[in-house]
C-alpha cells in the first residue's frame, strides 16, 4: 500500500511544480491551454502511418520542459505509468496489417509496425504536452482557463472535483487497507468477499466525503464559478507565445519537415 500513497504523493508533486516561477509559469494559463490544445489536434490528426512528420512536434514539450525547469525524469516516469494503455491499444496492429510499407536498409517494416510506432509516438507527445501544461499551470489553473475560454462552469468544476476526489479516493483507500491489514495481521486477508465489501465501503465513503467537501465549498460561498488567486491577464508575451507556437504547429502539420530537410540536403 505504500506504493499507492507514493503514487498519490507523486501526483501531488505535479501540481506543486506549478508553483515555480519561470517565464513559462508566468504565461497566462489560457495561452498555454490553447497552444496545447492546438498541439493535440495537430498531432492526433496525422494519418496512421505518420512517424517522421510527428518528430518536429517534440520541440514543443522539450522546449517547455527546459524553459520551465521541470524535472524531465519525473515527467517521463509519470508518462510510463500510463504507457501500458498505449502499448495495448496498438499491440494488434502488426498482425492486422502485415503489408510491407517501409524499407530501412536490410530491414522491412510492415504497415502494422509503422502504425504501431506512430501510435506510441503520438501517445508520448500528447501525454508529455498535457503533463507539461499541468506542471506549469496547475490543474486548478487549467480548469480556470477552460472556463475562461468558454467551457461551461459545471463541466470545469466537475473536472476539478474529479481530480480532487481522486486524491480523496486514494487516501481513503490507503486508510482502509491499512486498518484492515493491521487487523488481519498482514495475512492475505479473507479472500475475495472481504475485498468486495472493502471496495463497496470505499465507494460509499468516497461518495459521502465528496458530499461533505461539496457542502464545505457551498458553506464558503461557492456558487459554481471558479476564481483564480491572481486575476488572468493576457499580455504581449502571451500573444507571442500562442501565435508563435500555433504557426509552428501548422507548419509542422502541413509540411513534412524531416522529408523537406532531407530533400534540401540531398536533392533528387
Amino acid at each position: 500500500m505504500a506504493d499507492l500513497s507514493a503514487t498519490l504523493f507523486d501526483l501531488g508533486r505535479l501540481d506543486r511544480l506549478a508553483d515555480g516561477d519561470t517565464p513559462v509559469h508566468r504565461l497566462d494559463p489560457r495561452a498555454k491551454l490553447l497552444a496545447t490544445l492546438l498541439f493535440l489536434v495537430c498531432v492526433v490528426s496525422f494519418d496512421r502511418y505518420a512517424v517522421a512528420g510527428l518528430l518536429p512536434f517534440l520541440l514543443f514539450p522539450v522546449t517547455i520542459i527546459a524553459l520551465a525547469e521541470l524535472p524531465a525524469g519525473y515527467l517521463l516516469k509519470k508518462m510510463l505509468l500510463v504507457a501500458p494503455l498505449a502499448v495495448l491499444v496498438g499491440i494488434a496492429n502488426p498482425w492486422f496489417d502485415p503489408a510491407p510499407l517501409l524499407r530501412i536498409g536490410p530491414l522491412t517494416l510492415s504497415g502494422g509496425w509503422v502504425s504501431y510506432v506512430s501510435i506510441l509516438l503520438r501517445f508520448a507527445l500528447t501525454v508529455t504536452a498535457a503533463l507539461a501544461l499541468i506542471a506549469t499551470t496547475g490543474f486548478h489553473g487549467v480548469c480556470v482557463a477552460l472556463r475562461r475560454i468558454g467551457v461551461p462552469a459545471p463541466m470545469t468544476v466537475q473536472l476539478l472535483l474529479a481530480y480532487r476526489y481522486l486524491f480523496v479516493l486514494v487516501s481513503e483507500g490507503v486508510r482502509m487497507v491499512r486498518a484492515r491489514s493491521l487487523r488481519s495481521f498482514h495475512r492475505r486477508g479473507e479472500g475475495l468477499a472481504a475485498y468486495g465489501s472493502l471496495i463497496g465501503h470505499l465507494l460509499l465513503r468516497t461518495v459521502e466525503r465528496a458530499q461533505r467537501i461539496h457542502r464545505a465549498m457551498l458553506a464558503r460561498g461557492f456558487s459554481g464559478e471558479l476564481h483564480s488567486v491572481t486575476p488572468l491577464r493576457f499580455r504581449r508575451q502571451d500573444t507571442i507565445f500562442l501565435l508563435g507556437w500555433s504557426a509552428a504547429f501548422l507548419f509542422f502539420r502541413l509540411v513534412n519537415v524531416p522529408q523537406w530537410l532531407g530533400r534540401l540536403v540531398a536533392p533528387g
Binding site: R16, F139, H140, R212, R215, R220, G221, F222, V229
Partner: protein, 252 residues
Amino acid sequence: MSHHLVELADLSYAYPDGTEALRAVSFRITHGESVALVGANGAGKSTLLMHLNGVLLPQSGAVRIGEVPVTRATLPEIRRSVGMVFQDADDQLFMPTVYEDVAFGPLNLGLPPAEVERRVSDALARVGAEGLRARPPHHLSGGEKRNVAIATVLAMRPDVLVMDEPGTSLDPLARKRLISLLNSFEHTKIIATHDLDLVLDVCQRTIVMHEGTITADGPTLEVFRDEALLARSHLEKPLRMQACPICQRPGL
C-alpha cells in the same frame, strides 16, 4: 439589521434512514454571546450546527439568522454571515495549496485581489499558520489542518462563527492559541465540543443536548455544577471543577 442573532424555533430533523437527530429544539442566541453546545456522541450537535448555515434545511420548525430565515432563497446571504468550521478538517480543505484554500471564500465573495491577499495573510497569522502558505493541505498534520480550516473561515470575516469540535487533535500550545483566538473573536460564536475545560475558558453559556433535545441551557458554571444533569447527558465535570485528586482541594 443585526446578523449576529441566532434563533431556532421548534426545529426537528430526521435523516433519510429515519434517525431522528433533532426533536423540537428551540433557543435564541443574541449578539456577541459565546455559547457551547455539549452532549454525548450522537446527541445531535453536528446536525444542529449544519442547520445554522443551511447545509441542512429545517424539515419542521425554523432557523433564523438575524432577521433572515434560513431557506433555499436566502442561502447566499446566510453563508456570508455564518462561518462554519466542520468537524473533519479534511472536508474543508480541497484546493491545491493552503493559500488558495484560504483565498477560496474571499474570492467567492468577489473581493479585489489586494483585499483577498490581506485577508488570507491575516487569517493565517491569527491561527499561526503563515509558514504553511504554499503547502498542499492534504499533506499537513491533523492539527495543522485544523488550524488552516479555521483560517479558511476567519478569512470570510463572518458575523457568526460556528465550530464543530475545534479542539480535537491540537497540541497543548495550539489549543491555548485556539482559546485566545476564540476569545478574540468578538462576534457571536457557537461551539460544539467535548472539551468542557475549553468551554470554561471560552463560553459563558452552555446548552446541553441529549438524544436530539435540549436538556439544559444556562450559564456555563451553573450547568456544570449540576452533576445529576451531567450524568444523565453522559458528561463529566471539567477537570478544573473536580476536587484535586492529590490534595483533595475542591475545584472551581
